[in-house]
């Protein structure tokens, strides 16, 4: 699971949970995967992500690196920033661990890189 996917997941599917965002990450295994860099894609993605959540998640798992904690002005999207954003969004892959609902503590296992968000009937 990439941090980009994490950025899009909520646990408000659980009965009684209102926001369920962001999910906490408990990480057991991380892999760095090579993915092709594309500036245009990243530029289009920036307005769609919650940048603060991305930085906190990366920090939590020790992979923030040189990514600035505050989103720079559009005119300051230099190459160094784009490369760091690319790395954090698309190259850091959580292979094993858990996503934890911030309101109930319910754990969603991540196994083989796939988060399992399936709920039992009584939880819905």
């Amino acid at each position: 699971m990439k941090l980009l996917t994490h950025n899009m997941l909520t646990s408000n599917i659980i009965k009684g949970v209102t926001k369920g965002y962001p999910l906490k990450i408990e990480c057991q295994q991380i892999e760095i995967v090579e993915t092709e860099f594309n500036k245009e894609f990243l530029e289009k993605m920036i307005p769609k992500i919650d940048y603060g959540v991305l930085c906190r998640a990366a920090d939590q798992i020790g992979h923030l690196g040189d990514l600035p904690k505050v989103l720079p002005e559009t005119s300051d999207y230099n190459e160094e920033f784009m490369k760091e954003l690319h790395r954090v969004l698309l190259k850091v892959e959580i292979k094993e661990g858990n996503l934890v609902c911030p309101e109930t503590g319910r754990k969603f296992p991540v196994s083989n890189g796939i988060p399992n968000m399936l709920l039992n009937e009584e939880e819905v």
Binding site: M1, K2, L4, T10, I13, K48, I114, L118
Partner: protein, 208 residues
């Protein structure tokens, strides 16, 4: 124009619980190929496939648009594993698209759904194994009807939704349901295969 992804690994025993690509999958691939010029103009950034099964559709889309973020979901976790192997990578196991819906609201440029459309008794709907891949209950519409109301919320303004159906699903009724959300429907391709008359439907916001 584009090569069909290799899915020979699905013959392995490990994937006996995964829906193997069949006529419906291939009709879907051909339809997306037909739509390539249209989609290339939209330049999809976020692609979501609901119920990806083996992942053949998303793998193909990723080939058409290498710089898109493709998220796949499935209720059957062994289907998800097959899809990882077939390189459609960003997988989430879930019941519907719901844990993604809040954050993806208004952002999905391309939404894909090959639903469980087969007419079956209602009791067969909603398992977590391979029958979830086809059992559609009354008119084959039980799952389709759950997903449809979420579509307009998920799509970006120029977003497009493609779905496979059979004649028994009652295409006119589906068109009517989506018109309420100001979405217009067209049929991209149809084919008859054995007892099934399959179509791939396309939905976009009516901007007229």
């Amino acid at each position: 124009m584009f090569e069909t992804p290799d899915f020979s690994h699905l013959r392995d025993k490990e994937f006996s619980e995964v829906y193997e690509p069949a006529e419906d999958s291939f009709l879907f691939l051909n339809s997306l190929e037909d739509e390539f010029d249209y989609l290339a103009k939209i330049k999809p950034t976020i692609v979501l496939e609901i119920g990806c099964g083996s992942g053949i559709i998303s793998t193909f889309v990723k080939r058409l648009f290498p710089f898109s973020f493709c998220i796949c979901t499935d209720i059957n976790s062994s289907a998800s594993k097959a899809a990882v192997i077939s390189a459609a990578r960003n997988l989430v196991d879930l019941n519907a698209a719901s844990p993604l819906e809040d954050r993806l609201s208004g952002k999905v440029d391309l939404l894909l759904f090959n639903p469980p459309y087969v007419v079956t008794p209602d009791e067969e709907v909603g398992g977590r194994n391979i029958s979830a891949a086809w059992a559609g209950g009354e008119k084959g519409r039980r799952i389709i009807d759950k997903v449809l109301p979420h579509v307009p919320n998920m799509l970006s303004p120029l977003g497009v939704f493609y779905m496979v159906v059979i004649k028994e699903n009652n295409i006119d009724e589906i068109e009517e349901k989506m018109r309420i959300f100001n979405m217009k429907m067209t049929c991209v391709r149809s084919t008859r295969t054995g007892p099934e008359f399959l179509s791939v439907l396309k939905f976009t916001f009516d901007r007229s």
